[in-house]
Amino acid sequence: MTEQIDKALAREYEAGFVSDVESETFTPGLDEDVIRRISEMKGEPEWMLEWRLSAFRDWLKMDEPDWALVDYPKIDFQAISYYSAPKSMKDKPKSLDEVDPELLRTYEKLGIPLIEQQMLAGVAVDAVFDSVSVVTTFREKLEEAGVIFCPISEAIHKHPDLVKKYLGSVVPKKDNYYAALNCAVFTDGSFVYIPKGTRCPMELSTYFRINEQNTGQFERTLIIADEGSHVSYLEGCTAPQRDENQLHAAVVELVALDDAEIKYSTVQNWYPGDEEGKGGIYNFVTKRGVCHTNAKISWTQVETGSAVTWKYPSCVLKGDNSIGEFYSVALTRGRQQADTGTKMIHLGKNTKSTIISKGISAGKSNNSYRGLVRMNPGAEGARNFTQCDSLLIGDQCGAHTFPYVESRNPSAIVEHEATTSKVSDEQMFLCQQRGLDPEKAVSMIVNGFCKEVFKELPMEFAVEAGKLLEISLEGSVG
């Protein structure tokens, strides 16, 4: 049976191709000069450079965290290139017509056509290629509604007040090792501002692509939903198949002001490395949102890629009656390692949080849920519900759950449920006895296991996530 499941699990990484694009890439290495050059390439104002440099100085004094249940060789930060951009992007193309067709083809191959006419109506895309944003679609239509959706490098120039006010306000520069590194060397990412009382007319989406060899991707995303506004944002990520590990250290900050709502969905499909664990992306990401009064932030993630994942999208429930949600599916196979979960920090009265985590481990992989629920003294009447389910496929993988609960308010209620199950021989036999082949059977059982999370994804994405899981599980069949 194990053999059959292994076969069913053998997948091809469909996004593993390399684009032939001439790039301008920094020689590997990291010091203050490199940071000055990044800032210079972006034509940044002085305050931004100072911000970067202070983060860098802090980073030098910090230690790499070692508490996660992941094992990887020490990263040589001097062996990484911190900036790479297609040469064609140097003159900042004004419209799609001026963008290198090879870049457009790359996204088309990934199923993200950037020509507006061919796109899914209702989804605006910011395409980030290595260190730069290639194009952001539907900007005019969004501007009509007062929505700002642009590369963060552009926001630093055009909306410095908003950037100054909120950048680093949710994830402080010194928050953690990788966040500090990101502050020092981030190159691009998306910036979103939704004005008061506005419902963003389209789904916003950023598609991250690492292409160049030996480079890291350090993107920075900042989303501000002003009072009473609403936005749904999606991100996707892929990288070519390479034998060397590559580093991805992103920071995402969400600010939901009073009565605002942000829905943030991720489908993470970075190259996971081969069966033996060669190559793959190290994905060390800090994502956090702050909810003001009556605001709501909902994180939904489908994590199928990366060799190592270290990621805890969190909510600081600062305002009374605010709501935080975390829905996660993490699938690991081969030699993949994932240590992922969330933090729900309840500060305000009657704040509510829900955590639904589904971990699926196959092959020789290791999959951990790590979550913190903290009820501060002021969190009168706060509630949390946590459900962590693990599904094991085969007998050589690991599933671990590390729930941390800190309750400092006696009126707060914290509930935690956890289960571990296996794709059993009986289930496989039932499916096959009814005529399903083993691949379809595994994919059906796993999809059923993830159902509660998939229903939280926006429609267009739910289909993609289901398919991604199927590709992950079925190889090129089907």
């Binding site: 049976m1 059959q4 059993s424 021989d425 009986e426 289930q427 496989m428 036999f429 039932l430 499916c431 096959q432 006895q433 009814r434 005529g435 399903l436 082949d437 083993p438 379809k440 059906m444 059982i445 999809n447 059923g448 296991f449 993830c450 159902k451 509660e452």
Partner: protein, 258 residues
């Protein structure tokens, strides 16, 4: 008339222990055969071996279904060839709705036979009718496969699957176990409604009770891995009255040595 199923001198083992030891059986289209026998005789094993469950290995002998070599087929190919096993203890598949599961199964079987796919609307209509026939609320189609079903509901759910998959050969593995008399009647009526010249049944049961409702054409007694006595429906009553002890064979030599 040629046989639908022919089992010839079948020997099979589980975890290197011989369970089936020279089984012979012939089933013609439309016939209902009851397999009775004491616990541990190999009744359930027979169903698993025929349907190709992993871990059940055939040591020797042959089995043909409609003339094709059954033992040469994968588990799912046997199902697509028309073999259906109703489980004694149906397993749950959480989060996968009954409807989704059944549609996938019917689609896979039709595709393998080169038949056109049924539309979702058509299928839903058929599935609702099948629910009604086995006395399950239509809401069960939306529930996870066997998820939180009672014992009786699980058995009726098995029957519903049979109605939709329309197999040529149905093996009912102690479908009567754990059922009260009302549930038993529902199951029996469902089976009887499916009896036809094209469909055969192997009804595996420990008790004669089920056979009051499903009248078999033949009754066989399985003991220590082979059929030790065959007869018509009256044999079941005889067994009910006298038990199995008088039919059990001498223990095999290797077991004496052990």
């Amino acid at each position: 008339m040629s046989n639908l199923l022919t089992i010839k001198d079948l020997h099979a083992s589980v975890e290197e222990k011989n369970i089936i030891k020279g089984l012979n059986l012939e089933v013609k289209p439309g016939e209902v055969h009851a397999i009775m026998g004491p616990n541990g005789a190999g009744k359930s094993t027979m169903g698993y071996v025929l349907s190709g469950r992993d871990g059940y290995s055939v040591e020797s002998g042959s089995v043909t279904l409609d003339g094709a070599d059954l033992l040469d087929m994968e588990t799912e190919e046997r199902a697509r060839a028309g073999l259906f096993l109703a489980f004694q203890y149906p397993v749950e598949i959480p989060g996968v709705s009954n409807l989704e599961f059944l549609k996938a199964a019917v689609d896979a079987q039709r595709e393998a036979r080169g038949e056109e796919a049924v539309t979702s609307a058509e299928f839903l209509k058929e599935a609702k009718a099948a629910c009604k026939q086995v006395n399950l609320p239509v809401s069960f189609l939306k529930r996870g496969v066997n998820e939180g079903f009672s014992g009786g509901e699980k058995k009726r759910n098995e029957l519903m699957q049979m109605l939709l998959l329309k197999p040529k050969l149905c093996i009912l593995d102690e479908t009567d176990s754990g059922l009260d008399i009302d549930a038993l009647q529902v199951v029996a009526e469902g089976v009887n409604s499916q009896r036809s010249a094209e469909r055969s049944f192997i009804v595996v049961t420990h008790y004669q009770r089920l056979l009051d409702y499903i009248k078999p054409d033949f009754v066989h007694v399985l003991s220590d891995g082979k059929i030790v006595k065959s007869g018509d429906a009256s044999l079941a009553h005889e067994l009910e009255a006298q038990g199995y002890a008088w039919l059990q064979t001498e223990p095999a030599e290797d077991e004496l040595e052990g």
